[in-house]
Symmetry: C2
Subunit: 133 residues, 2 copies
DNA sequence: TAATAATTGCAATTGTGTTGCACTTGTTTT
DNA sequence: AAAACAAGTGCAACACAATTGCAATTATTA
């Protein structure tokens, strides 16, 4: 499974990359470097960092910046090659601080004023998630 | 002008606050701490930082997290007291890297799945701005 | 197998956000 | 107006995330 994805995205297969991708697939959550560090205590922080960068570049994950100081990453689902962002909004819970994908919703399209060209859009909704209600 | 705003928002008038607010009004741009540091080399970084925090708290500016690692701030226009975020999307230019407010557009409302409560929403469109076309 | 390129681990640096505390400045009370 | 108090500022220091350099290792290709 992970090998297929890595192959398709033209990313060389290495243990670290398989581990990380597997973890993303398994958790199906939005994750930051600090969480991944804890999940893989034996792995080097910088290697995880660079693996994330590689994944981002190759369209395996995409970065999400919620209000915090740490960059988060989620698996790409409906990402376009030319347009490397998901079409769904993200939800940031004010209680548990978890960030999640609202995959059932499409980001509505926007009529940009003249002169602006569109590449991608990011939408983050803040509130309280079902678990924390 | 700046004095009126500060008074209305119940923020004490100090030179730093006037300077910073004036700068925001004049530039009418989204600004980060690093830019403000450069703009006011004689002022202390922490003072600017705390002034931003005060402005944010009092509803004079609101924070915007675009893809970068640095928090940006823009003057509030249509911010609500109970819901301290603008209702317009932001535009992040991939060439000049400037962030701006698309004040003419409203963020479309979203039907959240059951169990989620809504507090606020942020929407950032990436592309190329008119100046960089 | 030799040569080459990609990946990793470690050390170190930079950048951004944040706090503590002493000092100054402004505001209020007597 | 002076004393008491509260708010704002400047400096030092710290916390943490992001990033780079480089040598060592591992994989790929000629």
């Amino acid at each position: 499974m992970t090998e297929e994805i890595l192959n398709k995205k033209e990313v060389r297969i290495t243990p670290m990359r398989q581990l990380l991708l597997e973890f993303f697939l398994e958790k199906n959550k939005v994750l930051g470097l600090s969480e991944l560090e804890k999940a893989f205590p034996k792995s080097d922080r910088v290697t995880i960092y660079r693996t994330l960068k590689t994944f981002e570049e190759k369209g395996i994950v995409h970065g999400i910046s919620n209000g915090t100081t740490e960059m988060k990453y989620a698996l790409c689902h409906d990402c376009q090659v030319a347009n490397h962002s998901d079409f769904h909004p993200h939800f940031s819970c004010l209680k548990c601080e978890e960030l999640s994908c609202l995959e059932s919703i499409f980001i509505p399209s926007i009529d940009l004023p003249g002169g602006y060209s569109f590449e991608k859009v990011e939408m983050t909704i803040q509130g309280v998630c079902p678990k924390c209600q």
